[in-house]
């Protein structure tokens, strides 16, 4: 049996193919994962029966839109998740880790050089609200609770 022939076959194919860049870039993206400009594009790569989103409320309980801070609500959650991952190393309790992540998120927003200073005033006493979304049968259930409150 000739063990070299499969390798020679692969080599011949590699030499012949005109899609080398596709193969190299695909491998780079899968190996390097989330390293800009590379990505393994994990958005909606998995689905679950439950998920959550966040939003902000001011001291009076009115919703604070995220757009004036020049970030999307989706980014808000991504920042919260990354801060939560850091906080989980310090706190075993998930609620405490979330409260810590919420505070870090509000601090991040306070430090942003946003164009409208009045938006920053609204962050005094603001709360990060978490809404859990899950499916039961053919019903969507939403449950809200405050994660943290700004000083």
């Amino acid at each position: 049996m000739d063990f070299a022939s499969p390798f020679l076959g692969v080599f011949a194919w590699w030499r012949r193919t005109r899609c080398k860049f596709l193969l190299v870039l695909t491998l780079l993206c899968l190996v390097l994962r989330e390293n800009y400009p590379f990505s393994h594009f994990p958005m909606y790569a998995s689905f679950s029966k439950k998920t959550y989103y966040l939003y902000l409320t001011d001291v009076d309980g009115n919703e604070i839109p995220t757009k004036p801070f020049a970030i999307s609500n989706s980014t808000l959650r991504k920042i919260f998740d990354s801060r939560k991952r850091i906080a989980r190393k310090r706190f075993a309790d998930s609620a405490r880790a979330e409260a810590e992540a919420g505070r870090a998120l509000l601090k991040y927003l306070e430090d942003l050089p946003v164009a409208k200073p009045e938006m920053k005033k609204r962050l005094a006493g603001a709360q990060v609200q978490r809404v859990d979304v899950h499916q039961e049968g053919a019903q969507l259930i939403l449950q809200k609770h405050a994660v943290t409150t700004a000083p």
Binding site: L22, L25, S39, F47, Y53, N73, T75, Y108, V114, A138
Partner: protein
């Protein structure tokens, strides 16, 4: 041993339109201001290069002007060997800062990767020219590699879905309604558009109550992603699958608020390639599908 297969050749008018439109997309996909207070979670390129210099407003304004100059030179095909690396560096650096705030966005990667592909193709082409390759192939290769970069983005997304779910992605898609509801509320807290929220919640409710239909639609989406390399067969496949992917993006925009507008533009520019079909229909500049290099 068999010789390498030739790369497709693109006509002058196609190259010109693609160049101008791609430069416009790169400009649009580069943030016009950095509303950040630092680089708290360096990601990718920001881990390799200290990009704090971009946070100084005068430096940022200078970089923006430099990007415009580089893109104009690129469109005019003047000192491309300098214009492309400058445009790539500035576009990637500015977007790396945006992606170093603790959350990764996935809207700009495709533009950066196509720009990377064009830069790599240009320098590879210069080296090949020294080996005696025809000068005319230089830009056609850049377009060919751009097409491969676009395909890679979709292919990687499809493969990741299979890896993460251990091949069960289509089956798990029956929970898509939960994700649509989440996206609907997330979009609402961006824009406070009540009508859009109600529209997307109606889609979420449909998804929750029609799991099998959602699984079929998800299967179609996954097929398009994993079948994206078929776009490299010829112009007909590129245009057909390019239109199908744009259609899928439009559907996702309306149902989940996920527009991925730069994906749509790049598909339109490099895959659908409208000028070619207009020229072909007119018969003026007709070329057989994918004339190839000798």
């Amino acid at each position: 041993m068999t010789a390498p297969r030739p790369i497709p050749v693109f006509a002058l008018y196609e190259r010109l339109v693609m160049r101008a439109l791609f430069a416009w997309v790169v400009f649009q996909a580069t943030p016009k201001g950095l509303i950040v207070s630092g680089i708290p979670a360096p990601n990718g390129f920001a881990r390799l290069v200290d990009l704090h210099f971009l946070l100084a407003p005068p430096v940022f304004v200078f970089c923006q002007k430099l990007l415009v100059v580089a893109l104009v030179l690129y469109v005019l095909r003047v000192v491309v060997w300098l214009a492309l690396p400058i445009a790539l560096f500035l576009h990637v650096a500015i977007n790396a800062v945006v992606n170093s705030q603790g959350g990764i966005q996935h809207a700009m990667q495709i533009v950066s990767l196509v720009l990377l592909a064009q830069t790599a193709a240009h320098f590879y082409g210069l080296w090949r020219r020294r080996q005696g390759e025809s000068r005319g192939l230089l830009e056609s290769r850049a377009i060919w590699w751009s097409q491969q970069a676009i395909v890679a983005v979709y292919l990687v997304a499809g493969i990741t879905k299979l890896i993460v779910t251990k091949g069960k992605w289509i089956f798990d898609a029956r929970w898509l309604g939960v994700s649509i509801a989440k996206s609907a509320y997330m979009s609402f807290y961006d824009t406070h558009n009540q009508a859009e929220l109600q529209q997307q919640l109606a889609v979420a409710h449909f998804a929750v109550t029609h799991g099998w239909i959602i699984m079929l639609i998800a299967a179609l989406g996954l097929f398009l992603e994993l079948g994206s390399p078929l776009m490299l067969i010829n112009r007909v496949w590129a245009a057909a699958l390019g239109c199908a992917l744009i259609g899928f993006h439009v559907g996702l925009t309306h149902s989940m608020g996920l527009s991925f507008v730069y994906n749509q533009w790049l598909l339109l520019i490099f895959m659908v390639n409208v000028p070619y079909w207009i020229a072909t229909a007119g018969g003026k500049f007709f070329r057989p599908p994918y004339a190839t290099s000798p």
